[in-house]
């Protein structure tokens, strides 16, 4: 209330009409409100925007993290064009985006549809599916590492059902490492996406389904013509989340394979980390970070622009 009190006028004045007073307050932003906006903005600028801008600058330098950076222009990006590991990391990232992102969206929606109706004990299943989200991804990775060990649970199960020929060093084989790493990431992400879709499904007016039923629409038609269009806004959120999560997927891969064996599960994020902090090529690592940023921003921005255009 004190915020809205005019500060300049000290003499008592007749109370202005409601509408006029509102417009006057909107014109003169009180300093307290300004402070609440500017102080966090300053903090954000110092702790987020400034380091991000520095990252862009570092991408144009050669830097070992100890000596002063040397400006090299676009050399890092030129090197990237001929870097086989960068190419395979990009391909793996695309594969990750499609498999991890696609499957988590599809399976998240499927589980949400399955668990949307209020039935006895449904909360247990929802909680069980959401539980992996609560665990740290590094802890999750350690558990899965034990599962994938040569004498781990997975190989023991395969042996016990007579599938000895399928026994495998899952994380140490270049043909299986990437897919083996996707599974724990997916296991965790499905519950998260499910919750987003559950919230979306709760927001759909039941009258639409009633009307569709009256018109003779079957379950598939109701899903296609009622559920999916109604979930459009949730889809935008889910897409943003999975694109960002795909491009920043790092912890699970790093904990399980470190991008190996010999780069076979390397993602852009792990390649960026190993280049910057293991090989101490922080300039090249920053250039990789810029590429990741551009990819994430590009995919999300293009989708959102299209989504808004359709909405108009």
């Amino acid at each position: 209330m004190a915020v809205l009190t005019p500060t300049k006028s000290t003499s008592p004045a007749p109370a202005p009409p409601r509408g006029k007073r509102g417009r006057g307050a909107a014109r003169r932003t009180p300093p307290l409100v300004l402070a609440f906006v500017l102080i966090p903005l300053l903090a954000e600028a110092l702790w987020v925007f400034w380091p991000a801008l520095q990252g862009f600058y570092l991408a144009l330098t050669d830097w070992d993290g100890v000596s002063a950076p040397t400006f090299v222009g676009l050399d890092n990006f030129r090197e990237m064009a001929g870097d086989d590991t960068f190419r395979s990391a990009t391909w793996h990232t695309v594969l990750w985006l499609v498999l991890f992102g696609g499957l988590s969206a599809v399976l998240g929606l499927a589980t949400a549809l399955l668990l949307q109706q209020e039935r006895r004990g449904i909360g247990f299943y929802r909680a069980a599916l959401f539980l992996p989200v609560v665990f740290s991804l590094v802890a999750t990775a350690l558990v899965w590492q034990a599962i994938y060990q040569p004498d781990g649970v997975l190989n023991q199960v395969l042996s016990s059902v007579g599938l000895d020929s399928l026994r495998h060093a899952w994380l140490a084989d270049q043909d299986t490492a990437l897919y083996a790493v996707i599974v724990p990431a997916l296991w965790r992400q499905i519950g998260y996406v499910m919750v987003l879709y559950l919230a979306g499904l709760k927001g759909i007016d039941p009258a639409l389904y009633e009307a569709a039923k009256v018109d003779g629409a079957g379950p598939w038609q109701r899903f296609r013509h009622v559920t999916l269009p109604q979930l459009r806004s949730v889809n935008a959120v889910v897409l943003s989340v999975i694109v960002i999560d795909s491009l920043r997927s790092f912890d699970v891969v790093w904990s399980l394979t470190r991008g190996g064996p010999y780069h076979s599960s390397e993602l852009l994020s792990t390649y960026m980390y190993s280049t910057a902090f293991q090989s101490l090529r922080l300039g090249y690592g920053s250039a990789l970070a810029v590429v990741i940023f551009v990819l994430a921003f590009g995919v999300i921005a293009s989708y959102l622009v299209r989504a808004f255009r359709e909405a108009d």
Partner: protein
């Protein structure tokens, strides 16, 4: 309401003042040439996070505290975090004072950037005067400054359990041919002859095989030059290393690149595999009752004309040049260089390391006595792949060697890729 406004203003003013102060201090800190605050306890950043090693470090710090000349605040950080953060520690404005780390090329790289404290005063003190010339050289930077205080070292060798070798009726080999015969015999008995442990987060263990084959075939000098970038990884000399490795590769544990060295050494102790090329640090995780049963033999001689070299990495401490507690650091370093300090550490740890001080007593077990003799008989000592080159070069070796183990026939492409990756590191 009247009372609330001034208090809110006061709150905001306070918040603003605190924020400004924090920002200013941040600016000052990041812009200053950097000196850690003087006085108070010396901060000792340690990467020795294995339970026994950590406990031994705590004993050491307590013993220094009892002397009454200064105090140490020990900060133990996981080895991988420590390694990646080390450049940041050393270049930060308010760095820790003393660090556990490696001498030789690794320390020299930091010394060349003026990030390490000159420890000449420590080296001229009575505590370090008796150290060997070799150790003195190892701790001297290119500039001639002493930058490191060595405290312990350990050796690499082919470790095995005596009782298992007796059970299988086999004995230690001397030459490469003896070694291949031994592997054949073990394989015929259904035992995996060689454990590796280059999976998980310990792919670097495979570098020991590269190091040893290279120093046995091309010699320690060539090995060091290769790691410094004087030779190429796709040279015929390096190819010969892998030709020999291919002879023994069929005897390796097929899960060698799938399990970490800790699991591989457990397999060896349990008799699932027969032997392992490893450093004595694996004993930190070995059960105490198994320690007396552990033995080792020298990596077989391949070419008798090549001077005998062994891997014996040295550990110890250096200090950041930006420390604000120079005198206190010097005092601590002098203590760490004493026989007394090194004995305290050895007593508290698994006891398989050797002290650097000539008067310090080792654990005295038959294993340690044999280890000491093993090092003394060597014509040359190497450290380890990353210590003789750089931490930055290690990932290139990890990729090349694990790929070679999986696809030995692709050795040509493995070496070309390794050289290309290494050049990027050398050119930084």
């Amino acid at each position: 309401m009247i009372n609330q406004q001034p208090s809110r203003r006061r709150f905001l003013a306070g918040l603003g003042a605190a924020g400004t102060a924090a920002l200013l201090s941040g600016c000052v800190t990041s812009g200053s040439s950097g000196k850690s605050s003087s006085g108070g306890a010396v901060t000792l950043q340690s990467n020795l996070s294995a339970p026994q090693a950590k406990a031994a470090m705590e004993d050491l710090v307590a013993a220094y505290g009892k002397k009454g000349t200064g105090e140490v605040s020990l900060n133990t950080v996981a080895a991988e975090t420590f390694r990646t953060q080390l450049p940041t520690y050393l270049t930060s404005a308010n760095p820790p004072d003393v660090y556990t780390w490696y001498p030789g090329s690794v320390a020299d790289a930091y010394a060349r950037k003026d990030l390490l404290l000159d420890l000449g005063e420590v080296w001229s003190s009575p505590e370090l005067r008796g150290y060997s010339k070799a150790l003195s050289g190892l701790c001297t930077a290119t500039s001639g400054k002493k930058v490191f205080v060595p405290t312990t070292y350990y050796w690499w060798g082919m470790f095995y359990r005596k009782s298992n070798f007796a059970k299988w009726g086999v004995s230690e080999p001397k030459t490469w041919d003896d070694f291949l015969d031994l592997c054949d015999k073990l394989k015929s008995k259904g035992v995996t002859p060689i454990g590796l442990g280059a999976g998980g987060n310990t792919a670097w263990v495979a570098s020991a095989w590269f190091d040893y084959l290279n120093i046995r075939i091309n010699g320690a000098r060539y090995h060091r030059e290769l790691l410094a970038g004087t030779h190429r990884f796709d040279d015929p000399e390096v190819r010969r290393v892998f030709d020999r490795w291919q002879e023994v590769l069929p005897y390796f544990d097929p899960d060698g690149t799938a399990v970490a060295f800790q699991d591989a050494s457990t397999s060896m102790l349990n008799g699932r595999s027969a032997m392992m090329l490893i450093g004595t640090f694996f004993a930190d995780a070995a059960p105490k009752d198994a320690l007396d049963d552990i033995d080792f033999f020298r990596f077989p001689v391949i070419d008798p004309k090549v001077p005998l070299a062994e891997e014996a990495p040295t550990d110890g401490y250096f200090a950041g040049a930006r420390t604000g507690r120079r005198d206190e650091v010097i005092d601590l370093m002098r203590f760490l260089g004493t026989a007394e300090a090194q004995e305290i550490y050895i007593k508290g740890s698994s006891g398989t390391v050797l002290p650097c001080h000539p008067d310090a007593k080792d654990a005295g077990t038959p294993l340690v006595v044999k280890g000491r003799k093993h090092i003394e008989e060597a014509a040359e000592i190497t450290q380890f792949f990353n210590r003789d080159s750089s931490d930055a070069l290690q990932p290139t070796a990890d990729n090349a060697l694990t790929r070679f183990i999986a696809e030995p026939k692709s050795i040509g492409s493995v070496l070309t890729t390794w050289q290309r990756d290494a050049e990027k590191i050398w050119n930084v």
